[in-house]
């Protein structure tokens, strides 16, 4: 829908906001990343040639990818139950999915620390009932990062899925079984493809938000789980290395943008069928 031309000034606040808070700093970053110490692509070459930087890029993509996958696997049954339960149970489910949103991310991450660390509640409990002799390493590693991130990002998967699933007519599934499909085949051949738009939207949200994640990996991860946002922070905070940090920020931005375009195009192609 287009605004009538004479109403275009309504967009002014948004344009101003994006201009000042986004375009300006980003162009500033872009300029620093290619102009210091001398003009050229040396900062980008560093990022894509040094193993530590490549390692962090890989970590970032891998953690975001696994988080997305876990969110999809956990989120699908939640969204499905939400769509197919009585109004009362639906409210309870929506409430429980939303609770994490109401507490600060710092509080949540520290709470995980209290629960998961070597002398934490969970290890004490497991040792207490004699299930383990040595405390388990549940935090300061990939497991801790993923646990924390999945918990925070689950709603971004659940809600787009929920909105698509509620609109899928039950007769598609019935028709599939009537035509000879076992429930499992009916699910994979008919039901799941109809959920794809919701799944794609949810996955894109979770993945893109994960890419820039900072606090959770910083608090719950180990040295091997550093993600790109932490690296940017570290370059600036410890080394005052603005040019390289800027280049990293641009890489994150461009990568996210590319992904967004790609997924959108994919949804369009598939969307023909939905």
């Amino acid at each position: 829908m287009f605004l009538k031309n004479r109403n275009i000034w309504l967009l002014a606040p948004a344009v101003l906001l994006i201009g000042i808070c986004f375009l300006f700093p980003v162009s500033w970053l872009l300029q620093r990343s290619v102009s210091e110490p001398v003009w050229g692509l040396q900062n980008y070459i560093t990022i894509f040639s040094k193993t530590i930087y490549l390692g962090v890029l890989w970590n970032t993509v891998a953690i975001a990818g696994v988080t997305t996958l876990l969110c999809a696997l956990i989120g699908f049954p939640v969204a499905y139950s939400m769509a197919h339960s009585s109004p009362w149970i639906r409210k309870v489910l929506i409430f429980s999915v939303l609770i994490p949103f109401w507490t600060s991310i710092l509080v949540r991450s520290f709470a995980w620390l209290v629960i998961l660390q070597r002398g934490g509640i969970l290890n004490d409990f497991l040792a207490g009932i004699g299930l383990i002799a040595e405390p388990l390493d549940l935090v300061y590693n990939r497991f801790g990062v993923l646990l924390g991130m999945v918990q925070v990002l689950l709603p971004f998967m659940v809600f787009p899925l929920f909105s698509v699933i509620t609109r899928i007519d039950g007769s598609y599934f019935s028709a599939a079984t009537n035509l000879g499909a076992t429930p499992i085949r009916a699910f994979f051949r008919v039901y799941l493809p109809l959920c794809l738009p919701g799944l794609a939207t949810g996955a894109m949200l979770v993945f893109i938000i994960s890419l820039g994640y900072f606090i959770t990996p910083a608090l719950l991860g180990g040295r091997g789980d550093i993600m790109i946002a932490q690296l940017i922070f570290e370059r600036i905070d410890e080394f005052g290395d603005w040019p390289l940090a800027s280049a990293l920020a641009i890489v994150l931005l461009v990568g996210t943008g590319l992904l967004f375009v790609l997924v959108n195009a994919l949804i369009k192609i598939r969307g023909r069928g939905i």
Partner: protein, 357 residues
């Protein structure tokens, strides 16, 4: 007489205290076209869903080709179904939709392609295979749904108000097409509708549903000419009812308010009853009334000119309004005037005496 292909014996479905369907008994012959007709909420869909296997009966049992259907899950029943809104899979092309049941049965690719083509041709949609369902009109989608439900040669074909979403003209066209397909393929069909005209046109037999039970099963002619209950007489076609009590029972004839009629079921003298007579069986006296042995008098309330016929609404002395429908030629011979007295005649053999409930 051949063995019935489908037997419903005393089946019923209760949702808590609500009986969605009960005491349903029906034998369907191979190749027969049987329609479930009834008002909204009368249990038609529920009964169809029990046959398809989507809901389990809480009473009675169903046999298909002599074997109990109960232990067989939906996907192994080999029963084709056309859903009210077609339920064509929106993410698959028309050809993929039609191929779906074959694919599920592991039919080889080449064979599949051939059968899909045949089915598409059968419903007059050859060449539409690559389209998506949403790129077809309502009538075309309807045909795809038919092709998909028939392509695997199901033992039984179920249709739940398949024409409900189409406009009148297309409906009438599709009625004929479905009838032709039925004749050509010799398929056994259970068809649901709440449109009595559709039921009369298409069916070999009609089961009239009311409040979860079957009121009467019979050929369209049986139901129209010899309704067994007031509900059936009222639901199928237009009927005049004169209510009173049963008098002078004599074998299969009796009187209500001094008017003779045929008893469809045993009724005791003195019980409440109605005399049912179709509008086209009422004649305005003065015209050709030969053979009429009953008469009614009243005041002309309304005269409606319908081109090829005339409808006269006459109020009897007690206020009961009856309608007489006469062909144009007949109507001309018996000029009526609004507000004037008129006498109507009918044959006792055309009137039915039914219990008034």
């Amino acid at each position: 007489m051949t063995d019935p292909i489908l037997q419903l014996s005393d089946i019923g479905k209760a949702y808590g205290p609500v009986n969605a369907a009960r005491d349903i008994n029906l034998d369907v012959e191979p190749g027969e076209f049987v329609t479930f007709l009834g008002p909204s909420g009368s249990g038609k869909t529920t009964t169809l869903m029990m046959v398809a296997g989507f809901t389990a009966p809480t009473q009675g049992n169903i046999q298909l080709e002599g074997k109990p259907l109960d232990p067989i899950p939906v996907w192994k029943r080999d029963i084709g179904m056309v859903f009210q809104h077609y339920a064509l899979f929106p993410h698959m092309s028309v050809a993929q939709n039609v191929a779906f049941p074959l694919e599920m049965r592991g039919v080889a690719k080449e064979d599949r392609r051939k059968k899909v083509e045949e089915a598409m041709e059968m419903v007059g949609l050859a060449g539409f295979g690559t389209r998506l369902p949403k790129e077809l009109s309502g009538g075309q989608q309807q045909r795809v749904a038919l092709a998909r439900a028939m392509v695997f040669k199901p033992r039984l074909l179920l249709m739940d108000e398949p024409l409900g979403a189409l406009d009148k003209k297309l409906r009438e066209h599709m009625q004929l097409e479905i009838m032709h397909l039925h004749k050509n393929l010799g398929a056994t069909v259970l068809y649901v509708t709440h449109d009595q005209e559709e039921a009369l046109v298409m069916s070999d037999r009609i089961a009239v549903f009311n409040a979860g039970r079957i009121e009467q099963i019979g050929t369209p002619r049986d139901l129209y000419e010899a309704p067994q209950t007031k509900f059936v007489a009222d639901f199928i076609g237009e009927t005049n009812f004169v209510s009173g009590t049963v008098e002078a029972v004599n074998g299969s004839v009796a009187k209500v308010r001094g008017l003779d009629g045929q008893l469809s079921t045993q009724l005791a003298e003195g019980s409440r009853a109605v005399l049912a007579i179709r509008p086209e069986r009422l004649h305005v006296l003065g015209g050709d009334a030969s053979g009429d042995d009953n008469s009614l008098t009243g005041t002309v309330k309304e005269l409606i000119y319908l081109g090829q016929s005339r409808k006269a609404i006459i109020a009897l002395e007690d206020g009961t309004e009856v309608t007489a429908l006469e062909q144009a030629a007949q109507a001309e011979a018996t000029a009526l005037e609004m507000g004037a007295q008129a006498t109507l005649g009918f044959r006792s053999s055309d009137a039915r005496i039914l219990a008034d409930v």
